[in-house]
Each structure stands twice: as structure tokens, then as C-alpha cells.
Symmetry: C2
Subunit: 105 residues, 2 copies
């Protein structure tokens, strides 16, 4: 089941634009101060670095990802999640827009 | 003064992707049912059609816009708004990312 909407949040109006727009996200903040982001990766192959650990939840479309230190591309589709350690990186390969929620920590 | 965040809303997790990603937005819904969107237009010259009337509020960056039936390109920067009639269109020319809130109706 996919998360179609997130209630009761504050949204940061200025988007985060990465890789010349191949990834665009908006930050959201919950009442308890928890921060997440909602975003989309357009068709591309990119490498993301993490600070905090991240859980990437797909809400539409799909991607293939490859975590640092692994050789396997793994598919992640709507309703699925994958975890990325902190201070690490992952490759992501997208052929149809990958819509996601990024959960931190 | 720019609107940096919008509180107490529900955000639609799937982005709206227009013009191959030159415009990306996320829909937000207020407690009273009012809908708006927060988005960004990346460097490009595009033509948008309106259904409902729209007020475009710039929160970062800038654009030049030209309403249907006019010949003048008008600049709109952070903190500024412009109105577009319903069932109309406007051209938008962006050289640095134009971050906006779209108010409907």
C-alpha cells in the first residue's frame, strides 16, 4: 500500500533541486519536529550521498538502487522501501519517474 | 516578505511533473479543503494553461511572465505575485530556478 498523502505537516515552499533538476524535493516537518522530504527522481542514473541514515519509500513509479559496497541493482516499486546507512552513498537508476518519501534517521 | 513555509497542511506525496521535469510541484490541501501547490520551474521558456484562475507567488528565484493577450514580459521575484485568469494561458521564462506557491480560484 502506498502513502498517497501526509497529513498535519508544515511544508518548506522552496524546493531542493539536485543534479540539474533530475531530483526535486520539498521538505516537510511534523508537529513533533520530525523532518522528511517528498520528492521525485526523473529518468537518470545518479549517485546520492547520505548524512543521516535514510529510508526511501516509493509512492509511485520505480527505481533500481545499488548500495555502497554491493554489486546488485535491486528494484524498488510503489509501496516498497529501502534503507541506506548514514555517511554512505547509493546509486539510483530510474527509467520512469520515481516518486518517494525520504525518512531520515 | 516571502512565504518560507506553510503550516497545517496535507501534502500529496506524488509530484506533478510537467514539461519533462522543467516544472515539478507537490499538491497541498488545507484543513478547510483549500488546495494549493508548491513547485519550481527550472530554466526554460514554457507556456502554461490555466483551468481555474491562479495566483503565482514567488518564494525564491525569479521569472518573467507574459499573460495571454499582452506583449510585455514582466519580472516576478521573491515576495511578488501575479494573477492569471481562468481558462487562459501564460508564458514563463526562467533563467534561475523560480520557486512558487500556486493559489487557485
Amino acid at each position: 500500500m502506498t502513502t498517497e498523502k501526509i497529513d498535519g505537516v508544515s511544508v518548506t515552499t522552496q524546493a531542493n533541486v539536485y543534479f540539474d533538476g533530475k531530483c526535486v524535493s520539498h521538505g516537510i516537518t511534523f508537529a513533533d519536529g520530525t523532518k522528511k522530504s517528498v520528492g521525485v527522481v526523473l529518468p537518470a542514473t545518479l549517485t546520492f550521498n547520505t548524512g543521516a541514515p535514510e529510508i526511501m519509500e516509493c509512492v509511485a513509479g520505480s527505481c533500481e538502487y545499488k548500495l555502497a559496497g554491493t554489486d546488485a541493482w535491486v528494484k524498488s516499486s510503489a509501496g516498497e522501501k529501502f534503507s541506506v546507512p548514514g555517511n554512505s552513498k547509493f546509486d539510483i537508476r530510474v527509467t520512469e519517474a520515481y516518486h518517494y518519501i525520504c525518512h531520515f534517521g
